[in-house]
Symmetry: D2
Subunit: 439 residues, 4 copies
């Protein structure tokens, strides 16, 4: 059956002492923690685009990856071969979910009709692949940024026909995601932003984008899609400024258009850091606003100002991320999707496995550490204690709206209050976290 990855065995859990580079040291899918298996907690997904579409080019260099599935007699034949490769890879890797853009899986064609016909045929292929392999779709999306048509935006384009064209793609991609029982539908506005303010009407483009998102919500209900709608924030790249800059920005946008109950966020680690935040910040912010949907699990390069989409390797970072997610109740429809790509110099087919195995082990080990933190109330007891006074009369009264500036001023003055600060104990808390990670 195997055609593309003959050199690689099915990847199994062998434990921390294994020296087999094609085995998991930490990811033991069926191991139960806090009442759920690792697989159920992590809900890990591989992506179609970086793994099976990107050929290793960068801005200064040509393709370095020679993959057999790029060579076929027709575009549709190549698409099917790519699907064969993708599902062989997913299966051998032992990952549960995958994700795709419309044009990752299906040739765009020369007209909208060809697009529709190709996509329809490939959805059938994917459906069959899912049934055969047991793979599930974490999320689908439409690519409304690569075609030159979208150079000045999709929903925010100065031309309403291009808005309509994007709507058409999203219509079909949502329908396909629904048909394939996708658990979420993602919208990333790579070109929804501006290149220069000199030619841009911000207010108008925001209105366009708001209406687009409302249509997406309306369509979800119309077709009975029960998955979650997700916006993926990113500050820039390719656009100079993207309207879905970060989670806080998306929140304001959703509030303006009455969508804050309908759409959540898909947070990508590397997008968070490009926005000037820590990944931890974006996750914690989304949790605090009730917006956490799913996570694009990757990592950037702290010295590089663009999206490097590297495989996550930091247990130190992902332990805190997973801890936040567990505190917020764990993933519902979302999961950890590897929006990751090989370094351009990692030209071997085997490198695809090395990247994912390392990533999956990183998340599995992070989950183990985070679970212990939850069980040990590692931080929560200190945090609760820190704010304890807000449970007293003064604090509850303030939040209940019973106080005014004047009443508080009287309270402070009459009692000659001189409240003193107490240590935030950051260093001790950092030691506690490291005590869990390096136990």
């Amino acid at each position: 059956m195997s055609e593309f990855f003959d050199n690689v065995p099915f990847v199994k859990f062998e434990g921390v002492d294994s020296t087999n580079p094609f085995a998991f040291k930490h990811y033991d899918a069926k191991k139960v923690l806090l009442g759920k298996t690792m697989e159920e907690h992590l809900r890990m997904a591989a992506c179609y685009w970086h793994n099976f579409c990107w050929q290793g080019s960068d801005v200064f260099g040509a393709n370095t990856f020679e993959r057999p599935w790029y060579k076929a007699d027709s575009e549709m034949a190549a698409a099917k071969m790519k699907a064969d490769a993708a599902f062989e890879f997913f299966t051998k890797l032992g990952i549960s979910y995958y994700s795709f853009h419309d044009v990752d899986v299906s040739p765009e064609g020369k007209s909208i009709k060809e697009y529709i016909s190709n996509f329809s045929a490939m959805v059938d292929v994917l459906q069959e692949k899912q049934e055969t392999t047991g793979m599930k779709l974490l999320w689908g999306t439409a690519n409304a940024f690569s075609n030159p048509r979208y150079m000045s935006g999709a929903a925010s384009n100065p031309n309403p026909e291009i808005f309509a064209y994007a709507a058409t793609q999203v219509f079909h991609a949502m329908n396909a995601t629904h048909a394939l029982k996708g658990q979420n539908y993602v919208l990333w506005g790579g070109r929804e932003g501006y290149e220069t303010l000199l030619n841009t009407d911000l207010k108008r483009e925001r209105a366009q984008l708001g209406r687009f998102m409302q249509m997406v919500v309306e369509h979800k209900y119309k077709i009975g899609f029960t998955g979650t709608l997700l916006i993926e924030p990113k500050p820039a790249e390719p656009t100079k400024h993207q309207y879905d800059y970060d989670t806080a920005t998306v929140y304001g946008f959703l509030k303006e258009f009455g969508l804050e109950k309908e759409i959540k966020v898909n947070i990508e680690a590397n997008h968070a850091t490009l926005a000037g935040h820590s990944f931890h910040h974006e996750i914690a912010t989304a949790c605090s606003l009730g917006l956490l949907g799913s996570v694009d699990a990757n990592q950037g390069d702290a010295q590089l100002g663009w999206d490097t989409d590297q495989y996550p390797t930091s247990v130190e970072e992902y332990t805190l991320i997973t801890y936040e997610i567990l505190k917020a109740g764990g993933f519902q429809s979302g999961g950890y999707m590897f929006d990751t790509k090989l370094r351009r110099q990692s030209t071997n087919l085997e490198d695809l496995f090395h990247g994912h195995i390392g990533a999956m082990d990183t998340l599995a080990l992070s989950l183990e550490r985070a679970v212990k933190m939850i069980e040990g109330e590692a931080l929560s007891k200190y945090v609760d204690q820190r704010y304890a006074k807000w449970n007293d009369e003064l604090g509850t009264g303030i939040l209940a709206g019973k106080q005014s500036l004047a009443s508080l001023a009287a309270h402070v003055t009459d009692n000659d209050l001189n409240p003193q600060p107490v240590s935030g104990q950051q260093e001790m808390l950092e030691n506690i976290v490291n005590g869990y990670i390096y136990r």
Copy 2:
């Protein structure tokens, strides 16, 4: 009458050919453009803190400024001497407005009662100074970040008594601003943020901050203050992360607490760039959201990751800023406030004048250029043309809610649409702008 700045004459407009370093080359206060004087357009203000309180220290070095007004027999005597120096400076400079924090003008004292009594006495002094000199107050504010009490936040503090203490200061600072006919009241949350997520409850702190802002609005109406309330966004510094990160973040916060009609933003150039945005972006965003209140006119250092608060010198930058503000109708209650400080090595008293004269000339010249851009429809005709198709049936129908994903998909497919992009003409528009600046 002059005691502190004997070496400096009253600064007058002498025109572009003047070689007098203590004259304006461009700022001609009474010159009329678009029906208003330069003074009325720019509404420029000098600040109390950097000019009269900061003594030239930085994190690695001690004070370098030896100013006569720091030396007096008592704190109150020093405060009065400082007021003498400040108003002498404002008057000689020929600037129309000033701004202050409570503790800039008045000694904090050893208790809240001393604070109140000192502040009350100094407000009387300021009132008299204003009457004598004709100076007006652009905005007042309370410093709820320097005292160690606020090390973990003011409104977002884990201790509600510290929240109450901050409320007391804001109560008095708002009352003082009202008494002094201040045109705005500003809230900058320098410590409203977190130093580490390990000890922080984001959701709770946000609720505290939301309630605090509601109280501020309630108090405004209670006392009949008719000025504008302003939040000043900043991403970090001193705090690792500040909740009022940027304009988009503040917008979401205001929407959550129902305050978007009540509070606007005071945008600082150097805060914008620290947040990873261009200053132009923050201004344009605020205008598009109806949130533009006032501007802290300074500039940062593109190589330094902290707030350098330098005097604005770039006509290239401020022409576009002023153009955006004019397009949005110009300043209402706000203005250009110089939140600027001397370089620590600029130790001469005269340097205070050089800094402000350069800044005021920069804004005056920028205003002249921007007015020409408005008059010449420099950019607007291109922008209107660019979005013209949105005035057609398809575009208006989309925005009016008459279309769905399905109806648009049908429209595109049935007509086999293949809309093509057109040039954004960025380079040509940049040339047009330079044509106005360097005419």
Copy 3:
């Protein structure tokens, strides 16, 4: 004769009041300043690669530029058509110089022999074009970074055969530059760096690079090339870290391999800012080390962490750059080369003109301002005064090696010295500069 740019007239100087977008407002080639024409001062060059090879793709999107010269029956036919278009453009624009990489002008072919044969034929074409049009070659270079062969470096490659391949390209590109009377030869090490330290031997790669540069110098003398050799620093992109990080780094490298008298630097504005420096810093540093060779005149985007290669528009920035260069004696063999590209949305052929006209006017106006600064001793009199004490006995003795720590300690202690600092007058100097720019 014109085939590609029929819509555009020959660009002429029409002066500041011209409203013709295809005219120069400031660049008057034959105008004499400080004894040289503008053309002789600025030595401006257009590039082959961005203008005639790049088709508008970015990492997230396909080509947006449809240019007639990409469509021909064979690669060599396309190369010749491209040369026609390029020289038509250069001529209509009225620029004096151009620059190219080997594979910009000539198809790489399928083997080294094809490469040589194609390149040789195209050098003949270029030679004829130069003669016909009077265009001159500012510099040539070899592209040793785009071919997958170079993914892990050229001179610093782990495989010496790839080193040899790069040497072959440089051999031919130097010979071609020599034949075409190029005034400089540039080496940009886009892949001379590392992607991860985990697989890299820094010391060994440095030795390889050092030997490569020595060979380049040896070859220059062997063929009698009288132009200048230039290294172009860049900190990263495409590589995670590039060995020619910035001017200071290149200086250390040159010193180690005894090349500091043989090779200068080609400084690019956008590379300077990516390295965390101001462009002004890099120019001033190169001048102070005697390393200034040539300049890639462009500008980056302060919010984007990659090389955007935009057209220079800032007279404020380029006035100071040009002032530094004039102070250092002006360009010798180097010049201002526009390593600039259109925004991907600027799809019209005319946009190529808009970009260059704006850039050339920016430099021409900057030159005018800088010349006035030189003539007026705008800054130099203050700088000389500031260091004046170093001309006294103590200062000259220190620099002449006549003092030791012990002798200075005795001097300070015996005389109980307590030297005081004086104002650096930064704000006043900034005003002086603006006085020259906005006169």
Copy 4:
């Protein structure tokens, strides 16, 4: 005997399962690895300045630390109390080394004579403390940046008398370091740089700095100091640009003044990242240039653009750092010095212990992991293999100077070479490293 830290016991190694926050989990000073004890490998030092001089202020806020040793009847009495506190702390912590600036340990006084007399007295106190406790001095240094005198530089000052004053301090600080058997002497040029290029003569300042460093070397030999001289690179802060920007820059400077055999670098993690490098990069670069002297072991905040000097907590980062140092032969005279400060909100005396205990455990565990990597040839076997072809005839011939561009071009062309790249295997190597860290 204990007076200041009564609440804290002597810190001991208790192993990974200890729940005692005042015990080491990993640092077992006498444990032997690769033939040396942990203590001998790590050579850890605490600093005087952040721990015992800084009082918790920041740019926006007043002191938050109330320490008993700041309150005494005279400056000299306070200095002695501070020494008592410092050595009590060092001893209880169980750290082997410490470091200081002249004015950390001794009051600056009102004149150079007072400075000398105070410093001399305090050196006697320190000498006695060292004898009593067994503490050793890792390095000494002079503070030539905090006093306003140095606002425009010390050695690079426009006034040679200020140069002489700095020389006086360095003279005494070197002598003191020698007397206290310090193992290194450090020079950090916090103000050796510029604030604006408008008033700066780069070439002249570089010459001043070069001569200063030569004097330092001459003085070392004169007094027979056998420790190592170290320059500590930093890109900026407090100065806009510092001349000792990073290791590569320092290398060029040392080469110019003939000092590359005399002076090494003291690399600080947070300075490395502020310079746009990874900490790993700076360490690997210093090792490859033979310049590694000592390390300031801290960490920055990836979102903040200034020196936060946090306690190191990342075993992931320090394992690779320690691996590089071990590969290079381990520390000679240098060590891991904690140039770390508490967060301003960590106001408890106990927090000083938490910070250091976490840091020391981080380094101890990193050492354990790195030793395993050395023993397992974790990376070296892959690196050696990657460059193996350079040991063949072609590679050795190139490096031996036997080849020219012409000979290599002939070799490639005659053999029609077409060398192909091979995978860099970055992901696999990352997995190998994590296999060592999380074993």
